[in-house]
């Protein structure tokens, strides 16, 4: 069984492995949050439009 510090060391490849997983976290996190934020902003913007009589 590996110790936790051995796990973190990744057999000497820690910087490469954890950078790759860190980048993946950033890309996934951005893709999870950005569309929802854009949707809310867009809904607010469109809802604030002045009412038009003819539609």
């Amino acid at each position: 069984m590996k110790t936790f510090s051995e796990f973190l060391a990744m057999g000497g490849y820690a910087s490469y492995v954890w950078s790759a997983y860190g980048l993946a976290l950033i890309v996934l996190g951005w893709n999870a949050l950005a569309p929802g934020r854009r949707e809310r902003a867009l809904e607010r913007k469109l809802a604030a439009r002045p009412e038009r009589r003819s539609a």
Binding site: A20, E43, L46
Partner: protein
């Protein structure tokens, strides 16, 4: 059956279905990510040649697969919009481009982080890496085209033509490791042969690939809703939805 399909091809119905579906898909992808990460980082043994560095495979390969899959979604949706004037086609093509660009970037960046310790270099101009870089430029070109053309219909048409022409790059990426001698290793998982990887390493890879795939669809649904609202902003149903239907 076709009636039902047609119904969801309409933006109004798609928007409603998407609001129900996307939270569940995000949840499912989170569960798959946890399972895949435990399998890939903890349970799978180290590779006999590459040691622990091989664990980059669990983010690199799923994002590379997704970068190509997303392109096919973008190009076929664009084609449906261009040829059959399917409005949802234009919408889905526009919604998939930023996702495709970000996963192509991730595939390139994690590949670079894997290449440095294994090949001794961050980057080589070989067939696999270069064609994947071209894929990134195709996505960026599509996105630039969308923001450069004011009229949405015209932007969708121009983008669809670019996306369809760019499809030629997809088989080039896929077969590049067979057609040319490249530094990049060959396929680990193929349809016809037994995968050249042990089951304890393969299962986490498939779990991660599925997690990325489900995540992609979840994010795509949310992006598609944004595009629908922008495309349809002057219609009565969007007005009703914004006035109070949002709570439903």
């Amino acid at each position: 059956m076709f009636e039902r399909f047609h119904q969801y091809a309409a933006p109004l119905h798609f928007h409603r279905l998407s609001r129900k579906l996307s939270p569940w898909l995000f949840g499912l992808s989170a569960v798959l990510f946890v399972a895949g990460l435990v399998g890939g980082l903890v349970l799978a043994p180290a590779d006999y040649q590459q040691g622990e560095s091989f664990r980059i495979i669990y983010v690199h390969v799923p994002s590379a697969w997704l970068s190509m899959f997303c392109y096919m979604v973008m190009a076929s949706a664009g084609a449906a919009g261009l040829i059959w004037k399917v409005k949802m086609g234009d919408i889905m093509a526009r919604a998939s481009a930023p996702l495709g660009a970000s996963f192509t970037f991730l595939a390139l960046a994690t590949g670079s982080l894997w290449g440095k310790p294994m090949w001794g270099t961050w980057w080589v101009w070989d067939a696999r890496l270069t064609s994947e870089l071209i894929l990134l430029f195709l996505y960026l070109g599509y996105i630039a085209l969308q923001s450069a053309i004011e009229d949405r219909r015209a932007a969708a048409r121009a983008g669809a033509v670019l996306a369809i022409v760019g499809v030629v790059n997809i088989p080039i990426i896929h077969y590049s490791v067979e057609w040319w001698s490249t530094l990049h290793q060959g396929a680990t998982v193929t349809k016809f042969d037994k995968p050249s990887i042990d089951v304890s390493m393969l299962i986490p890879l498939l779990l991660m690939a599925l997690a990325f795939q489900v995540f992609f669809f979840a994010a795509l649904l949310v992006r598609a809703r944004c595009e629908i609202l922008e495309f349809e902003q002057h219609t009565a149903w969007v007005r009703d939805y914004l006035r109070g239907g949002r709570k439903v």
